[in-house]
Symmetry: D3
Subunit: 132 residues, 6 copies
Amino acid sequence: MSTVKLLEDHELPPASAEVFADIRATRKTDFVNNFWRTLAHDPVLLKRTWESAKQVMAPGALDPLTKEMIYIAVSVAQSCEYCIRSHTAAARAKGMTDAQFMELIGVVGMAAETNRLALAMQTPVDEAFKGV
Amino acid sequence: MSTVKLLEDHELPPASAEVFADIRATRKTDFVNNFWRTLAHDPVLLKRTWESAKQVMAPGALDPLTKEMIYIAVSVAQSCEYCIRSHTAAARAKGMTDAQFMELIGVVGMAAETNRLALAMQTPVDEAFKGV
Amino acid sequence: MSTVKLLEDHELPPASAEVFADIRATRKTDFVNNFWRTLAHDPVLLKRTWESAKQVMAPGALDPLTKEMIYIAVSVAQSCEYCIRSHTAAARAKGMTDAQFMELIGVVGMAAETNRLALAMQTPVDEAFKGV
Amino acid sequence: MSTVKLLEDHELPPASAEVFADIRATRKTDFVNNFWRTLAHDPVLLKRTWESAKQVMAPGALDPLTKEMIYIAVSVAQSCEYCIRSHTAAARAKGMTDAQFMELIGVVGMAAETNRLALAMQTPVDEAFKGV
Amino acid sequence: MSTVKLLEDHELPPASAEVFADIRATRKTDFVNNFWRTLAHDPVLLKRTWESAKQVMAPGALDPLTKEMIYIAVSVAQSCEYCIRSHTAAARAKGMTDAQFMELIGVVGMAAETNRLALAMQTPVDEAFKGV
Amino acid sequence: MSTVKLLEDHELPPASAEVFADIRATRKTDFVNNFWRTLAHDPVLLKRTWESAKQVMAPGALDPLTKEMIYIAVSVAQSCEYCIRSHTAAARAKGMTDAQFMELIGVVGMAAETNRLALAMQTPVDEAFKGV
């Protein structure tokens, strides 16, 4: 059903198995979701993507739940079902309430609408917004 | 330069002038940015969009700065320069730091990348993420 | 400024010059806009695109102005400034009023918003809409 | 299957039940499609979206069928299956013929193609199209 | 399941049957995939699309496999499942290896990410890249 | 003009200066383009993006020019002017001819068009394309 085979644990290239071990240790669960099982065909791409995800989604100037909600917003704006579903699950696991989710999608919808209005009218950027 | 003329205050249809008055009162500033000056040709659309924006961006289950960052994320994912610039300015006015902005765009970039990876591989949604 | 040079009339490959002659004859004007002047580097691509445009935009089950408005809607949804501007000019030349343009962009904005809401909620398609 | 539960009539928050009553009265049918059943979790968002839809899609400078076709065009350009299917059904209910639908998608496809050509070549906007 | 009926061979309009004959002769197989079976409702659109596809995908300055990979890249960036699947199959039939496919999607993901970073930062185009 | 200041060499955080040294050594030129000068505000994001770019764009199962053309295709499909211009320059530096560029954009345009046609018709995926 995927364009590359979903790999079971016993089918992993050794370098991918190492990344899976780190995913399990980091997330403290045996469950490894399908995204990594398709990416595992290419151990270099798998490792780079996982290391990036760990770094990008770690607490920093923004908290992890805010980051998950931003992730959902982009995934909706780009029409990626897998990503909408997996990151909505992740956000809920990090405490996102139903009320927060509905407000999140309200903002996404409003932004989508005004993006198109501004583009259609080719509204010129105000001097005050011209940046640094 | 826009596809509809930017309206100066003295050119506003009366119903649009009323909305401008509310924008100024709500934001406590005389400045009305170009988005509203292009939209003002259609008082009904202007009023509906302004009322929606007030409602959607108000503090609720999410705080206003988080909402601005979600707005930026969508605007980037949809390639709207006007919206990126105006909402980056708005987020900064609400306290967004440089570090927060750079983390925000890091998440946006990561989401954009993994969206495309999941789509290319047509990764099937895990049972665990199938939703409610 | 473009990624391929804008070709003046005297720089056209002969096969592109023939297409330009047909553009002028069909549109009854000497003006040939920049889109065709960049495409003219590849006479085969130029001819194919022009022939397609003539066929697609001709009156048929839909009238030419409706077609121009659909063209604008897509160009806005895909963030193409050149196309927004050139087809807005074309639609105006075919009689689009300011009121029609503002309603058009109202629909585009509304559609953009509800698209994102439906995607975010992963609303399942109703049986009644499952198609033929 | 959706990321928020589809609400049956007896599960609606009271404020959402009121909106459903108006949807039924306005459309003169008991059928309320799934989009509203997912949105119903947030009565404020539901009401705002429904009121906007009524206003935007009402006859005005453009007729309702033209508006439905513009809606479909945007939904296709933004890859929203739910919206493509629900608005195709709506357009057919308003009289869209097969020939009109095929012409509509011909224009959408042509616009999608030339959007990308113009972007790839970074064709500069003609002075004649620079707007108002 | 589609918005227009999939046409079986015996249901084809005569002009569409002629195009199907050419598809079969050109591809040296009796199999005609569903894309053409939905498009066949409109013989003019079918013929134009098929003739364009033959011309665009033919060997030229780029080889057919490179063209298929570019096709996949666009289809991923635009979220079209049908096109991702059909052109991945086509690329494999033309010799694309698993390693090539994984590198292709690595590039697509990287491009998607840096596109969004550049847009978010509104990085100005370097003089050196300003084009011809 | 950008939303974050373009950093000159003497303004770089030390960790970003190290990355710039590697960019110069790897590319064998003193020129560092603006993308990196905006990203340099965040040394971690800068380093991660540069290391990824080096890895992804290196010769492998696909040659570097093919990778640049795929990069351009995605950038066009996502409307990123900076990326279209910088990667077109990069592809030309790697030997892309005018004829190759025009064929590339021909494929991008064709893919963009058929993506939308397949989506509009909701063409079901053929069994033969259902993947592995």
